[in-house]
Subunit: 238 residues, 2 copies
DNA sequence: AATAACACAATGTGATCACAAAAAAGATTA
DNA sequence: TAATCTTTTTTGTGATCACATTGTGTTATT
C-alpha cells in the first residue's frame, strides 16, 4: 500500500515568556502555513498537532479556529481542517485582490507619511537591497512584508491591514514556492519608484508602483506550469 | 454611585438542529453585534455570556475567538473582549475600504453574470423596493446585503467576500443607527444603475454605481453630529 | 477625607474527561 | 478480485475542574 500519512515538520516559534500558549501555537502554525510546511489538502487533527507541539489539545483548538477565521485554514464539511488547495484562478483572484486593496491602503496612508516614517521606509528598502544582493531570499520576503506593513500603518486610522494579512496568508505557501525561483529573474526595484512617489506625494504614482511590485513579485508564480505543480499536492481527488 | 453593569439583551438565533452549539453561539453573538445590541466598549466575559445563552463556557470561548479574528470584537490588553469603539476617522476608513474592495469585487464578478444570475439580482432588487415602500428598514438592510453578496459571489473564484463581510460586521452597529433615520432621506435607487451597468457589461459604470450605493447608504451616518452621539457610548474614558 | 494596603471575588487559560459521530480497518460475500 | 457490511479506532465537541492573574470592594492609616 502507500504510506499512512505524510509527516508534518513544523519549526517551533520562539516561546516568548509571558505569552499564552495559545498565542504561541497560533504563531507557530501560522508560520508553518506561510512557509508551506503543511501541504494543502493534508487533513489536520487537533490531537496530532498537540502531540507534535507538545501541548494540550486546548490551545491547538483555539489556534485552529482563529486561523480558520482568517482564511489561512479551511474547515471541510466533515469539520476537519486543512490548508486550502490552490487553483490558478484563485491564485489570480488573490493577486488582484492584493493589488486593489493594497494600492488603496497605500494611497490612504500617503498623507500621513512624515519625515520619520519616510526614513524608516528608506532603511527597510536598503535592507531589502542588501538581502537581495546576498541572495538571502528568506529575509527578502520578510523584509518586503515589513516594508508594505510600515507603509500602510502610517495611516493611524487604517483598517485594511488585517484583510491584507489574510491575503498574504492565503498566498503565503505558494509565494514561497515562487520565490525559490526568484533569483533567476531580473527584479526591477519597484520600491524605489514607490519611494519617489511618496516623496512627491503622488498618490497615483504610488498606486502604480505598489501594483507593479505585487504583480512582478508573483507574476511567474502564476504561470500555469509552476502553479499546477503544486495545485494537486495532497493526493486526494475531491 | 452608578449602576453596576449595563445589562445585555441578546436575541437568540434559531437553533437549527444538527448544528454545533459553537456555531449557534457564533451566529447569535454575530447578530447581536450587527444589531448593536452590545454597546461598544462594554466588556464581555465568557461566563456572563455563557449564562445568558444558557450554554457552557466552552462554545462561547470559541465563538469569541472567531469573532475577534474577524475584527468584530477587539481584545483589550487585559485580554478582555469588547465591541470596538468607533471614531469618525475610522468610520470613514471603513467606508472607503468598502468602496475600494466591493467595486473591485463587482467588476471581477461581472463577466460571470449570466441570465439566471441577472434574474436573481432583479428579484432581489424588486424585494428591496417593496420593503422600502413599506418602510421595513430591517428587511431593506438585510436584502441589500443579499444583493451585494449575490453580485460578488457570481464570480466562482471570488476570494474577497470574507473580507467584505468583516467590514460589514465592523460597520454594522453604526450603520444600523444610521438607517433608523434613513426614511427621512430621499434615496436614489443605485441598484437600478447597477443593473443597467451589468446588462451592458460596463464594468466602470458598475463600479460607480456600487460606490455611490455604498456612499449614499451611509453618508449621513458619517456626519460628525450623528457619529459622535455613538462614539463614546460605554462610559469608560480610556 | 483621601489614599494606600489588603482581602476577596471573578476571569481567562489550560488540562482532562465523556460521548456521539466519523474514519479506518477488517471481515464477509458475490 | 472487488464490493459491501461490520467492528474498531480516532476525532471534534462540549462540560467541568484547577490555578494564576486581574479586578474590585473594604478596611486601615495618615
Amino acid at each position: 500500500m502507500m504510506d499512512k500519512k505524510s509527516p508534518i515538520e513544523i519549526t517551533l516559534a520562539d516561546r516568548d515568556e509571558s505569552v499564552t500558549i495559545t498565542q504561541w501555537v497560533y504563531r507557530t502554525l501560522r508560520n508553518a502555513v506561510m512557509n508551506g510546511q503543511i501541504l494543502p489538502g493534508r487533513a489536520l487533527t487537533i490531537r496530532e498537532l498537540a502531540k507534535i507541539l507538545d501541548v494540550s489539545p486546548m490551545p491547538v483548538r483555539e489556534a485552529l479556529r482563529q486561523l480558520s477565521a482568517e482564511n489561512a485554514l479551511e474547515i471541510q464539511g466533515n469539520r476537519r481542517v486543512m490548508v486550502p488547495r490552490m487553483t490558478a484562478m484563485k491564485f489570480n483572484e488573490l493577486c488582484e485582490a492584493r493589488i486593489a486593496i493594497e494600492s488603496h491602503a497605500a494611497a490612504r496612508a500617503l498623507p500621513y507619511i512624515d519625515a520619520i516614517r519616510l526614513e524608516e521606509l528608506r532603511a527597510l528598502d536598503r535592507l531589502i537591497d542588501k538581502a537581495q544582493d546576498e541572495g538571502n531570499l528568506e529575509d527578502v520576503s520578510i523584509l518586503n512584508q515589513n516594508f508594505h506593513r510600515a507603509l500602510y500603518t502610517a495611516n493611524p486610522h487604517q483598517v485594511t491591514l488585517p484583510l491584507i494579512e489574510s491575503l498574504w496568508l492565503q498566498l503565503g505557501p505558494f509565494m514561497r514556492l515562487a520565490t525559490s525561483k526568484l533569483e533567476e529573474h531580473y527584479l526591477v526595484d519597484r520600491h524605489n519608484e514607490a519611494m519617489t512617489a511618496i516623496e512627491k506625494k503622488d498618490a497615483f504614482a504610488l498606486q502604480l508602483a505598489i501594483a507593479s511590485d505585487i504583480r512582478e513579485g508573483i507574476a511567474f508564480a502564476g504561470t500555469p506550469e509552476l502553479l499546477n505543480n503544486f495545485i494537486q499536492q495532497a493526493g486526494a481527488p475531491a
